[in-house]
Structures are given as structure tokens and as C-alpha cells.
Symmetry: C3
Subunit: 247 residues, 3 copies
């Protein structure tokens, strides 16, 4: 059993964070809320999302797992205005999800969860550096880097206590250095890793410009990017494997 | 002789309603205003438009018929701002239409009316059911249906006194049910017919969101969709033939 | 040495006026400001731009010439918000331009000025007619003409003291006549020349709608189009060679 009512913008923010990585996913329904983990086909990027039951206007479930086509569910959520409410109601027998938006009823066929790529075990890394930065700074850095290269380095300079972003293209380079003044917080530690901009650009699309983004990183280690959605009642964590340094 | 001045938004609303079905049309010029009837090449959708002389700032004609390329005339009207006035002046000798927008003069070559597809005789059907619904509800239903299928059923449930819209796709379905509360008016009668979404989506583009839309329908019968434009001084009627029920 | 700070919208307005004609250009750095001249590969359209040092928030140079890829520099300038400041700093050794926007640093590789098409000698023509017209009237005329033809005639009627624009297509025509009332100024003189709309449409994109545009023209002679940018601290002059009259 699953019956819930949620505002369109909350549902869309949640779906978008997973949809930038995968087409289909399993949604775990628990007393506490919904939870989604997914990894892209190349095993490079992972996402973990929780949306607490308190993020919903109403929420009832006796547990279970459903498989959904994210782009389809996102299209349906896109039919609603930002503040409009979306009712979700699982029909256990037909394995379809009834979605109601102000009198309009959409019946979405679910996907067999067993046919969906296995969920990743997001490793519990103890990364040496952590910075907290505004979403709009992540956005500027990723977009500028994308103009010159297909990869991007992120690192922390422990001496200068700065977080830096570098992209080196064939002719042009991009650098962004943020010091303690520019950052919301910084726990310095040796960190420098190279990442694919394809992935980071996709993940960036899910980061709200006004979010406080917690970035954990290390020396040629995966990066963790964490931020809240739904006024703190939803959590998104991305993890991205590093590229091997070419030089 | 034909000389008229009309606001850009009125002219565009009128042209759009015909332009969703055909590329070229005949415009009948009468003392009462202009009148256009047209049918698409497949003979499935028809439109009848009248724009009263009172919808114009000034209007003079001694009658006649002109043939126009609608997309070209729409492009020209699109050069004007919404409230700006457009002057139309027929040059009988050259068979060209002079179009003036604030000093800019466009000379549009007319099309020989005899070369344009014959106008339809829109049948005077006596359909058993009639509902009056807001344009934005038509829009929601048509767009949602278009996400799952290429056809759409419209009908009236006489017991429950509801108007319904259904689209059944290969996996997903869409339903919209509007009762007396949701509708502006309802004259219940047995009605259920299937239509092509290609046509209905095109027609929907011409329906203002805030219009009162009168829909007449029956059992496997054509549908009539009627609404006003130009603050009541223009009338648009679409008629759409039903698809044969596949099951 | 070249170090300057300029608002994003001023830099973009300057770059756009040159970028509509060429991909790469030489920028002359002088005490008075920057100066660019360029001609398109077909030698039909020319542009001359000066942006005074007073248009910059700060400006220092000991002179020189740099070669830049305009679309790349425009993309970078596009990363800034309209009022945001852009810092430019030439690294003489590496021949790269450091561009800073609020902590973000972009290193743009310059182009060897010798590899860029030679700058034109913009001829000092003494054209018989001059009209001063609003940018939005240029825009309307060029866009309307573009709907019917690929060339456009501009001229002055000395008897009626009007400036006119004509485009004759295969079926439709466009005319715009502006008299002393509609014009900001007119120095009448015999003038009628035909131009390619490809070029004039491109040039039009660089003309602000609210600019006072000075147009100098003659009988089958090139046209000069002049307007100010950056609140009068920048000057743009386009020159366009006439097409040969086909009839």
C-alpha cells in the first residue's frame, strides 16, 4: 500500500536528482519516506536520495519497492504547476501507479524492479577534505570548465586554505579559487582529483543555485556532493569516481 | 473593395484558428464581417470562423472573396505588437492585399480562390450531449492524453452527469472526469466517441485558455467545438470526424 | 601591458558589433581606448569600432595589438551578469589574456595577429544623403524585408524629403517610408542603392533598438551605418558595399 500527496516542485526536485544519472530506478517505500539509490551504466556516478514522509502533505505506506520510468514520471509531474498537489496511489493488483493532478488521472505502468540495474552500495569513504559552497558557485565553475575541456580538477590547498577548480583545455584554461571568505565552510585536507565533466555537468543540473553544497574530496579519490531539497526534508548525495590523471 | 483596420491580436486569433487546419483559405468579405470555412486535405477536420465587422476598428467592403496564404499573413501580423493596429486594403486591379503596420507597408500577393480546396458544407448535426468547459481544462486533457496515446475518447456519463476524457496507451492511461461542479454547463445525453489526437492537439492550440468552450458530442459521431474570440465578436467552430473504435 | 576592468554589457555590446561580421579580429590597444577594424571574407561588409578608455572602470596599457577569437571571448563575457565587472589582464610572456569574473579566472589563448585577415582601409566617402533614424525602425524594416526577399533597397526621395526602404520579392513587396516627422534628422540628397539582406540582417543584430542610427547613402554607393554604444563612449561604424541592380 502506498498513498501520498506531494507538491509538484518537491516531487520534481527529487526525481531530477536521480534522473540526471539513470532512466529507470527502484523506489523504496518505508515508514520514514521514500529512498532511491542508483548508479549509471558505466558505474562512474552514483546517487542516493531520501525524501522524508514529512516532505509530503500526506503519506501512508506498508512498505515495498516499485520500479519507475523516471522520464515518464517527470513528464507527468511537469503537467502540474509548481505549487499544485500531486496524489500518488499504488494499485497493488495491477502494479500501476495512479497519479492525480486536480481531477486529471494518469495511470502509470510500473517496471518490474528485478529488471532494473542493481542498486549500488555507496561506499562509506572517509575523505580528508570537506568544503561547503553555494550551489551557484558550483554552477559557475562547471559551466566555465565545460567551455574549455571535458574534464575538471577539484582540490583543496591546505596552505592557503582554499578550494579550487581547474580545467585545462588545449588552448584555454579555467580556474576558480574560493577562500574561507567565499566558502560557507572548509575543513582543509590534502585533496586533488580529476573528474569527467559529462557527469559533473549532469549532476550540476540537479543542484539548486541557492543550496548549501557539501563537497567531500581526497587525493585521486571519488568526490561526494551532498545537498538538501524540499526545505531540508530531502537529502541528495552524488558520488563520482575520479578519472585517472593523464600526466 | 475592402478596407479595414484591426488590432494585431484580434487578427492573429482569427488566423490561428484556421491556420491549425489548412495552409490556404478563402476569406468571404461581407457587410457583416469576414467569414472563413475550411477543411483539411483528409476531410477529417473542419473549421468555420466569423469575425464581425464590429471586431474591427474600421471596416468597409462591397463584398467578394479573396484567397490567402495563411502562414504568410500570420507572419506579417506577427510583426506587430499585440495592441498595434493593422490596416488591410485590397487592390482590386493587382489582386494584392496592402497591409500597413505603423508606416510599414507589406504587399501580399493573393491566391486565386478557384485554386483553393473547396469549402466544406459543415453539417447541421443535432448532437445529444453538450458540455461547456474552460479552455484550460481542454488543454490539460489533450496534453495529458498526448503523452500516452495517439487517440482520445470523449464522452458523457448520463447517470453520473459527468463529462469524461480517456486516452489508453500501450502501458499508461489518462482519465479526466469533470462533474457539474467542474463544468460551466452540461446537457447530458448518451455520448462516447474516439478522435485522433493529431487533429485535436492542433485545434487545441487555437483555443484560448480562458475561453468558455462549448462541446457537442454523440455516440460515434463527430464532435463540435465552439468558442468565441475577439471579446465575443468572433466565433470559431471546429468539427472533427470520429475514428472508428478499434475494439 | 594591458589591464582593464569593464562591465559585462559594455564588453558584449562592443564584441557583438564586430562578431556579426568576422570570427577573429585584431584589437588595437591605445591610450585612448581600444579600436577594432574588420572586413568580412567576401570584402562586402566592414566594421570600425572604438571603445574609449572612459567606457572602462579602469584602463591601463602601453599599447600593442592582440588577436582574439570573438565567439570564444563572447562566450566568456556571457558567463557574467549584465552589470557584473570583467577584468582583463594581458600576460605578455605567454600571450594569453587573463579574464576574471568574480573569482573565476579564464585564460584565453590569443591568436597571432599576423594570421588574421588584414584590416580594411575604410574609405572616407562623401555621401550625398544622411538620415538619422531610430534603431527600432531599422529593425522593423530589415525584418519585414527579410520575409519577402534577399535584397533591400534604401534611398532618399529629395522631393518628398523622405527616407525609404523597399524589398521586392517574387510575389510580395515591403515598403517603409519615413518622413521628417518620423526621422530624427534628414539631409536630403539623391540616393538609392541595393544591398544584400544577409549582411544587413547581421549588422542589424548589433544595433540597439533605442539607438540613434546615422545612415549615409548615395546612388549605387556603399552605405555607412553609425551608432553609439556604452552610453556614448563607444562608436560603431558599419560600411556595406552595394549590390549591382539586377534590372
Amino acid at each position: 500500500m502506498f498513498k501520498a500527496i506531494v507538491s509538484a516542485d518537491t516531487l520534481r526536485a527529487a526525481l531530477d536528482s536521480v534522473g540526471v544519472l539513470v532512466e529507470e530506478c527502484k523506489i523504496h517505500l518505508t515508514d520514514d519516506g521514500i529512498q532511491i539509490s542508483a548508479v549509471d551504466p558505466a558505474n562512474v556516478g552514483m546517487v542516493d536520495l531520501t525524501l522524508e514522509s514529512s516532505a509530503f502533505e500526506s503519506y501512508e505506506t506498508d512498505g515495498g519497492v516499485i520500479g519507475v520510468d523516471l522520464s515518464r514520471l517527470d513528464d507527468i509531474a511537469g503537467m502540474a504547476d509548481a505549487g499544485q498537489l500531486i496524489e500518488l496511489d499504488l494499485d497493488e493488483e495491477t502494479r500501476k501507479l495512479q497519479i492525480r493532478i486536480d481531477g486529471l488521472e494518469y495511470t502509470l505502468a510500473l517496471i518490474d524492479p528485478d529488471s532494473i540495474r542493481q542498486e549500488p552500495d555507496i561506499p562509506d569513504l572517509d575523505l580528508p577534505a570537506e568544503v561547503v559552497v553555494e550551489g551557484r558557485d558550483v554552477d559557475r565553475a562547471v559551466k566555465a570548465a565545460d567551455m574549455v575541456s571535458d574534464h575538471i580538477a577539484l582540490g583543496v590547498n591546505t596552505d592557503e586554505e582554499t578550494f579550487y577548480v581547474e580545467a585545462e583545455g588545449d588552448t584555454d584554461d579555467v580556474h576558480l579559487t574560493l577562500d574561507r571568505e567565499d566558502l560557507i565552510d572548509l575543513s582543509a585536507g590534502d585533496a586533488h582529483s580529476l573528474f569527467s565533466l559529462d557527469y559533473l555537468s549532469d549532476m550540476n543540473r540537479a543542484v539548486p543555485l541557492d543550496a548549501e553544497v557539501v563537497i567531500e574530496l581526497g587525493e585521486e579519490f571519488p568526490i561526494k556532493i551532498h545537498f538538501e531539497i524540499a526545505e531540508g526534508q530531502g537529502d541528495v548525495t552524488f558520488m563520482l569516481a575520479p578519472r585517472i590523471q593523464s600526466d
